[in-house]
């Protein structure tokens, strides 16, 4: 049991210590500093408070983990009906880098039915071993059999780390597997690195709506698990030559029992996803009329891109929720994003700051969007946009 002990005698200024707590969990009662049950054990008081004032006590040490028994970095292959989701290649790229630091192999875990072609395709990405669990019962994702297979893979291969794409399936499967293995899982990591000495995976993710960035480690458990959204990491390049071994695994029928039955699969009309667009024109609250929004759509079309926007525009029904960028919407990584009338709330920024080129147009020179932008235009968009459309048309010879 780990806990915090407050040494009142080492506190000169109780209020100053209380102020250190980012969660408001400390208060002064009868002259003593007390910690209430909203404490999140961030240890800020221990690290930045007066020396020795708050002590972090770990009373019972768990059995030390034999980390060296856990080797290799594994990627869960996101696939539906044999079609590999591109986030997989991005995770393979990252896994190769992480495994390289440890001089350990890269694994892929492929679960499905009739996925031989997908396995062969994966051989073009420099993976050491591709583990394939192919069974008609695994044709579609169901939480119980997929978890059972995943568990089997982990127990047989003992990977140091596992990366899972934050797809619809990955976001359900990864936590279920992590809970089964009683290990840590960090959601939506944006930066991953490997400490070669400790073999600990360093996981960075935005927290509290992106207002803070948290550096997370899983020092006493293996495997270390992290999910990563699409378009956050750089994809591994496809190589012409084939490498790596396909290992076909059998799994006991009894493990594939499911309490879920898929009755029907209804295709949805193919939607243009803003995640796949190279150019985005994003509208914010500063866009005051539908006519202005139509202009932005025209601009997006001219640039071969798509219209996107912030949450307020979704809420007032001007754009579809699938066009929303941000932590509660989509994460995008286009070559160009033009942000028009967007103040730059961190929730939005966190969804687009990996874009190669960020242009911001806003009439408020103090708008936070300018902090993230590469090209800043302070001015009224209703003057700039029509001019811009005309200029681009002229340049394209239209």
């Amino acid at each position: 049991m780990a806990r915090l002990k407050v040494h009142q005698d080492k506190i000169d200024d109780p209020e100053a210590l209380v102020a250190v707590c980012p969660f408001g969990s400390m208060s002064v009662k009868d002259g003593n500093v007390v910690i209430d049950d909203s404490c999140r054990m961030c240890l800020n008081c221990v690290n930045t408070g007066p020396k020795g004032a708050v002590e972090f006590i770990v009373e019972k040490k768990k059995k030390p983990l034999k980390k060296e028994r856990w080797q290799g970095v594994a990627v869960y292959v996101a696939q539906v009906d044999g079609e590999i989701h591109p986030v997989t290649y991005e995770l393979i790229g990252k896994a190769k880098e992480l495994a390289g630091k440890l001089h350990q192999p890269v694994y892929a875990l492929l679960i499905g039915s009739q996925v031989q072609a997908a396995a062969k395709e994966l051989q073009h990405y420099g993976i050491d071993k591709i583990f394939v669990y192919d069974d008609p019962k695994l044709a579609r994702f169901a939480i119980e059999p997929y978890t059972a297979v995943f568990e089997r893979f982990i127990k047989q291969n003992k990977p140091n780390s596992i990366l899972v794409g934050a797809t619809t399936v990955g976001r359900q499967l990864a936590p279920r597997v992590a809970a089964r293995m009683r290990t840590g899982l960090t959601a939506d990591t944006t930066i991953l690195d490997m400490d070669a000495k400790s073999t600990d995976l360093s996981q960075i993710r935005p927290a509290f709506g992106g207002n803070i960035i948290a550096h997370i480690v899983t020092p006493n458990n293996r495997p270390q698990m992290a999910t990563v959204r699409y378009k956050v990491m750089d994809a591994a390049p496809r190589q012409e030559e084939i490498s790596g071994e396909i290992v076909e695994k059998k799994i006991n029928e009894k493990k594939l029992v499911s309490n879920e039955k898929i009755i029907d699969i209804i295709p949805k009309p193919a939607e243009q996803s803003i995640e796949s667009a190279d150019v985005l024109v994003a509208a914010g609250r500063g866009v005051k009329s539908k006519a202005e929004l139509d202009q932005l759509k025209e601009l997006a079309n001219l640039l071969g891109g798509q219209l996107a926007g912030t949450r307020p525009l979704v809420e007032n029904g001007w754009i579809d929720v699938r066009q929303q960028i941000g932590l509660s919407g989509r994460t995008v990584r286009p070559k160009l994003i033009i942000c028009v009338g967007i103040s730059g709330a961190i929730q939005f920024i966190a969804g687009m700051d990996n874009a190669d080129n960020i242009v911001a147009i806003n009439n408020d020179p103090k708008a936070t969007i300018f902090k993230s932008a590469h090209y800043c235009l302070v001015g009224d968009q209703s003057d700039i946009i029509p001019q811009l459309i005309a200029d681009i048309k002229a340049r394209k010879g239209e």
Binding site: D37, T167, A214, L377, L388
Partner: protein, 262 residues
């Protein structure tokens, strides 16, 4: 049908500020609310109850002040509520949170259906629901956008996939995490608020759990550790495109052309 809904108290504003000097969150302790995604889970429970009967229990974990969200759930129509609150639960990551909640659910009784919102607005992980289902050893469906049919043994739901809707029949007991907009959440009723003002909210501590090993809860039961927190970095290389609107548009057009974006 016996339904349990997991709810959480979160900061009232998503625009939490960070002190640029200390890197610490500037929090407004009084400004808290029910996690907005949980409202959809609660509304789903209320609709199912209306159709199929039964009772709704809400469960939350947090400081004593988190009772407020349970009271709000009462004012929306929940029948019972309980709060898991114990210093020894503090500092819990996803795994330890899910474990404590699953132990709390077991302590509260048998449920046919556990409902969770898709994620919280503060933690943002969307992982607690699936992890609870593992500890309860029950099937789970996430991204549920519609409930089609409920029978005595099963329910049929639609799971939203990127290019498909999957219609899934799942056996009770089970856990669902519902999408935003599955139903429009109702507003709390003043009449219900008055009527439930005296309703007791039991507090569950570690001593009420089946597993009382402190090492499985709170920071000790958390495999992940926060090594450091810091404010997000801002972009450093920046070009100002100045002048009249005409000049700005020209400069931007030239820039885009130079970048081969036109």
């Amino acid at each position: 049908m016996n339904i349990l809904v997991c709810i959480k108290q979160v900061p009232g504003s998503s625009e939490v500020k960070v002190d640029p000097d200390t890197g610490l969150l500037i929090r407004d302790g009084d400004n808290v609310k029910m996690n907005p995604y949980d409202l959809f889970a609660l509304e789903t429970a209320l609709r199912l109850k209306k159709e199929k009967g039964g009772e709704i229990t809400v469960l939350s974990m947090g400081p004593q002040a988190a009772k407020a969200v349970i009271e709000e759930a009462f004012a929306m129509g929940a029948d019972h509520g309980a709060l898991l609150s114990d210093r020894r639960f503090g500092g819990a990551d996803v795994l330890a949170t899910s474990y404590a909640l699953s132990q709390g659910i077991k302590a509260l009784g048998d449920f046919d259906l556990i409902l969770c919102g898709k994620q919280t607005t503060d933690g943002d992980t969307a992982q607690v629901g699936p992890e609870i289902s593992e500890y309860l050893e029950i099937p789970a469906v996430a991204n549920v956008t519609k409930i089609r049919e409920v029978t005595d043994e099963t329910m049929t739901v639609e799971m939203d996939m990127p290019n498909q809707l999957e219609v899934v029949e799942v056996a009770f007991p089970c856990l669902l995490t519902v999408e935003k907009d599955i139903y429009q959440p109702r507003l709390p009723s003043y009449v219900l608020k008055k009527a439930t003002a005296d309703r007791k909210i039991p507090i569950y501590s570690l001593d009420d759990m089946d597993d009382q090993d402190e090492n499985n809860y709170g920071l000790s039961g958390s495999p992940t550790q926060v090594k450091k927190i810091f404010p997000p970095e801002t972009n450093t290389t920046q070009t100002m495109l100045e002048g009249t609107a005409e000049e700005q548009a020209k400069k931007l057009t030239t820039t885009l052309a130079d970048l081969k974006l036109i």
